[in-house]
């Protein structure tokens, strides 16, 4: 039985521009898995953005120095496909019996299609949204899994007027995404509008019942002498039968050093 818990997928990713790849996501995660040696695949930065990956491979100058940002083609001129990228990785995960596995994205900008071992899942749009996919039934028996994500830029990346200005032509405001990426009085435009898997990717293993989004609230009385901690959890039973559960909540405080008071 695999230990329950979360494993981050933050290394071993490779990437390629979508316009340079003919294969589909199903082929890339079954019969034609890419490798770093296969051109045009390159080492990728995940979590990170497309520009972060291009910078790591020295395919663009560093936009933070001098006027180098001017040397990077803006998405308004290149088109969205130019900054639409595949991100590929493999991970080891096999589970037994009554376990369930989720693939978790803490934030992707702006929309994406996920392929795992030939299975496709289209994610919701939105730069600030966690998304989890129950991949229990998609895992390979030998535990070696192939994952590829096709990440699309915001739908309305906008165009930067010659005079610049706060938020460029404001088109980015039509999407649920950060506005600063079109440039501001203190900031030049970000050429890929921060497209990418910009936050944590993880795989989490649980038993039949999963805990989601606990909420902790304190209430105070008698001048903060009498205090109550209220805890609400969401629980999901992914079994096909009733789950008899024991729920525990424990509050400890770390004294100096690593002595714990329970």
């Amino acid at each position: 039985m695999v230990e329950i818990g979360k494993t981050k997928l933050d290394s071993g990713w490779i990437a390629a521009r979508s316009t340079e790849i003919e294969k589909t996501g199903v082929q890339l995660t079954t019969t034609h898995a890419p490798t770093l040696e296969t051109s045009p695949w390159m080492e990728a930065v995940v979590p990170g953005t497309v520009l972060g990956t291009l910078l790591k491979n020295k395919l663009i100058p560093d936009p933070f120095y001098g006027l180098e940002n001017e040397a990077i083609i803006d998405i308004a001129d290149s088109g969205r496909e130019y900054y639409t990228f595949w991100f590929f990785t493999t991970f080891q995960c096999s589970m037994s019996g009554n376990q369930h596995v989720d693939l978790n994205f803490r934030a992707i900008n702006y929309s994406a299609e996920v392929y795992l071992n030939g299975h496709k899942k289209v994610l919701s749009k939105g730069m600030f949204l966690r998304q989890s996919i129950d991949i229990t039934d998609f895992l390979q028996p030998d535990g070696q899994n192939l994952l590829v994500v096709l990440v699309h830029p915001p739908d309305h990346p906008g165009k930067i007027p010659p005079e610049g200005g706060q938020g460029g032509d404001h088109e980015i405001g039509k999407d649920v995404a950060a506005h600063y990426v079109e440039g501001w009085d203190w900031m030049t435009p970000i050429r890929d509008r921060n497209t990418g898997i910009w936050d944590e990717v993880s795989v989490s293993v649980t038993g039949p019942v999963k805990i989601t989004d606990p909420h902790l609230v304190a209430s105070f009385f008698d001048h903060y002498e009498r205090v109550y901690l209220h805890s609400t959890v969401e629980l999901e039973n992914r079994n096909a039968w009733v789950a008899e559960c024991t729920l525990n909540i424990q509050v400890t405080t770390e004294l100096e050093g690593n002595v714990c008071l329970v």
Partner: protein, 233 residues
């Protein structure tokens, strides 16, 4: 008294919400902003064991006991803050984000946020044109006592007050905006440093979004009836 066990049966395929009976604390160490006291944190751990299987899932999060209130002062029109009943003079800075290519790292967050604490700040305002900041950002604000004013993704310049005037009704997909907002609230709501959610920068969000945000972010009536809570205990 800080360990509680409950037994529960969950039907097959069900997704339920469960609230533990309140845990009582006598004079716990309170969490205070930078410059007002210690940032005492407790470790809250929740586990679920399933009969015939064992431990099925677990979750833990640092938690600070603190009460943050803020009201608009009728005389000055400014917003007055109180923490644990004590008025606090806000000394804060604007925050856009760590890095324009979103190379976000714990090390960078720790350095930047400790720097704000060393500058004797007690609040950081996350501007609406930037990010809903990440749990790692809030973790270090919890540790160094920086209160956080977190704006949603509306800015005056882009939403209806800029030149040219554009997007007077905000983003095209209001449901998507609220889906992202609700998920962001669930991601960040347990951090003691989170002091205030703000609709946007220099602009009120479109009416439907603003109403939904206010409604979603109200404190549940359950927590406002002291006698009910004490009786239930």
């Amino acid at each position: 008294e800080h360990l509680q066990t409950t037994h529960l049966s969950i039907p097959p395929g069900a997704h339920i919400q469960y609230t533990f009976p309140p845990l009582f604390f006598y004079k716990p160490n309170l969490w205070w902003p930078n410059g007002m006291g210690k940032q005492s944190l407790y470790n809250v751990g929740i586990t679920v064991d399933v009969k015939g299987y064992g431990e099925s899932d677990s979750w833990k999060h640092p938690f600070g006991f603190r009460k943050i209130e803020s009201t608009i002062d009728s005389v000055t029109g400014g917003r007055l803050f109180k923490v644990n009943g004590q008025p606090i003079f806000i000394r804060g800075g604007n925050w856009i984000l760590s890095d324009g290519l979103l190379r976000l790292s714990k090390k960078r967050y720790k350095t930047d946020i400790k720097f704000h604490a060393d500058m004797n700040f007690n609040m950081i305002r996350c501007w609406g044109g930037g990010l809903a900041e990440r749990p790692e950002f809030y973790h270090y604000c919890d540790i160094y006592g920086l209160l956080v004013w977190q704006e949603f993704w509306i800015t005056g310049d882009v939403d209806g007050r800029g030149v040219p005037v554009s997007n007077p009704n905000g983003p095209l997909d209001h449901d998507l905006f609220l889906l992202c907002a609700r998920d962001t609230v669930k991601l960040l709501r347990n951090h003691p440093s989170l002091a205030l959610w703000v609709g946007g920068n220099e602009q009120t969000p479109p009416e439907d979004i603003n109403t939904a945000l206010k409604d979603n972010l109200k404190l549940h009536p359950y927590f406002q009836m002291p006698n009910q809570i004490s009786n239930s205990v």
